[in-house]
């Protein structure tokens, strides 16, 4: 298979004189037996759905438990005053991550990337650039191919499900995909993309999956923010020429290893972490009462 390691992608880029995104697209063409046009069309549809997931956000919606909703709107209103600490781009990143994460919890349409729980990370970093005219659709589509290739490698070598590897496997992977996408979008070469991916994963290593009452709500929505902001900083570091001392494939393997060793309480079972706090327990009891 073509996407078994980042190293393999690097070699292909070198050997076939193709950019990162094209290596991923060619894999898709081969794997699904489709034309380049069909592959691109599907990626366009995916991007369109991602954009829609941002544009259709409504702050008055609430999740089934009632714990989630309205924070995207709160952040947007605060950002509009022009007083945020983080500045124009990052405030949009935070707002977007919240909006999409909340929409997911409220049963709206999203793009799982790589999972539904982590669906806010990629749109959070890409949509603000697109909306501000700092990236056009062609560039975004290429960046999405890069992100998908990164996700495929992580999925093959480690894992992307909270039940297998904790939050580091979901938000961590989403963050790595987003960091790689941003690096590619800003003209970083394959090596820089690799360093961005490695740094993003390292920074979130060990993060547990501890959803309150087992729902994709708390702390999942705000973890999308941390995944997105981490991606931006790692991309900027990589573009500055800062490197990960540990090679990227070793970081990915390590994430998988750490995930496998996480106690089962910290892998989406809602038996540990925040889910086990008195607050978490009380939400669980409330939900059980609703179950008639």
């Amino acid at each position: 298979m073509a996407l078994d390691s980042m190293e393999e992608i690097f070699e292909k880029i070198e050997r076939e004189k193709k950019p990162f995104w094209k290596v991923v697209q060619d894999t898709d063409i081969e794997e699904r037996q489709v034309t380049a046009e069909a592959s691109k069309e599907k990626m366009q549809a995916t991007w369109k759905a991602m954009l829609e997931s941002v544009e259709t956000y409504q702050g008055q919606r609430r999740s089934l438990s009632g714990l989630v909703g309205g924070d995207g709107e709160r952040m947007r209103a605060y950002a509009a005053k022009g007083e945020t600490l983080c500045g124009e781009y990052l405030q949009e990143v935070i707002t977007t991550a919240l909006c999409v994460g909340e929409s997911n919890a409220c049963m709206r349409k999203i793009v799982a990337a790589p999972t539904a729980g982590a669906c806010g990370v990629l749109p959070a970093v890409l949509v603000p650039l697109y909306q501000a005219g700092r990236a056009d659709e062609e560039e975004i589509l290429k960046a999405l191919y890069v992100s998908a290739g990164i996700g495929a490698v992580v999925s093959y070598r480690a894992c992307i499900a909270g039940a297998s590897g904790g939050c580091q496997a979901e938000i961590g992977t989403a963050s790595a995909m987003a960091a790689g996408a941003l690096t590619a979008l800003r003209g970083g070469d394959a090596q820089k993309i690799g360093h961005a991916v490695a740094m993003a994963l390292k920074n979130l290593m060990g993060l547990i999956c501890d959803p309150v009452a087992g729902l994709v709500e708390v702390p999942c929505v705000k973890r999308n923010v941390v995944g997105a902001v981490n991606a931006v900083s790692c991309a900027d570091m990589a573009l500055a020429g800062i490197t990960s001392r540990v090679p990227v494939d070793q970081v990915i393997d390590c994430m998988g290893d750490v995930g496998g060793r996480l106690p089962v309480e910290f892998r989406e079972t809602a038996l540990g972490g925040l889910a086990a706090t008195p607050f978490g327990q009380s939400v669980k009891e409330e939900m059980q009462k609703k179950r008639t």
């Binding site: 999740s63 669906c119 087992g214 179950r291």
Partner: protein, 222 residues
């Protein structure tokens, strides 16, 4: 390996690929295998589906699937109302199973003409599913391929007859499994194919000797 649109996708209604998107697909699979719109469904939830299913909309997602909705349909949250409009009655219970995947549902569905199907399926992650039992017979297929489910008499040469028709139509078999309840009795052939199986080929297979019935699931389109 996963295709890249399993990584960047599916496009789906939230909140959980396993508990929502997968549940819709399980419902749709039961509807397809029944062959007609169901009018009655008893839905058993097991493991995590029973524990956290309500908060994830698993119940609404399963009913949405039974109504033929896809995982990205925004009507999923109001599927209970849709079911009332379209004449599908349903009930839920907590299923007791041995050694099943933690995200499992058992659906007993009936159509208006009395046709009935019992299907046990699991949501295995990322919106992917696996059918584990059909009318009491162990099976294993995912809906990730075009799938033929053929009930036939357990006699020699039956597999060759069926696969010849596929071969003539230039349809490649990706996976295949075969099981029977007892020697010489009913047997079930599950064939997953790379290409679509056109109606004419399905009719040719159905007209073969000793084929009881044939059901076809076409892979979800792009």
């Amino acid at each position: 390996m996963l295709d890249i649109f399993d990584i960047l996708g599916p496009v789906m209604v939230g909140p959980s690929s396993s508990h929502t998107a997968g549940a819709v697909r399980i419902g749709r699979m039961a509807r397809t295998l029944l062959g007609k719109p169901p009018v009655k469904a008893e839905i058993g939830l097991y493991g995590s589906f029973a524990e956290t299913g309500q908060g994830h909309g698993t119940d609404r997602a399963l009913v949405a699937g039974l109504l033929g909705l896809r995982p990205d349909n925004l009507d999923i949250p109001r599927s209970f109302d849709l079911a009332a409009e379209r004449g599908l009655s349903f009930s839920f219970y907590t299923a007791r199973l041995r050694e099943a995947h933690p995200n499992t549902a058992v659906l007993t569905v009936e159509d208006a003409d009395g046709g009935k199907l019992v299907m046990q399926a699991a949501s295995t992650g990322g919106g992917r599913i696996r059918v584990d039992k059909l009318n009491g017979v162990d099976v294993s297929f995912t809906g990730g391929f075009n799938t033929l489910i053929i009930r036939h008499l357990d006699i020699e040469g039956e597999v060759a007859e069926v696969t010849r028709e596929l071969s003539n139509a230039k349809i490649n078999i990706a996976n295949m499994n075969l099981c029977r309840s007892r020697r010489g009795g009913d047997a079930l052939m599950v064939i997953e194919t790379d290409q679509r199986v056109p109606p004419v080929v399905r009719i040719l297979i159905k007209e073969l000797k000793d084929i009881r019935d044939i059901t076809y699931y076409e892979k979800e389109g792009d």
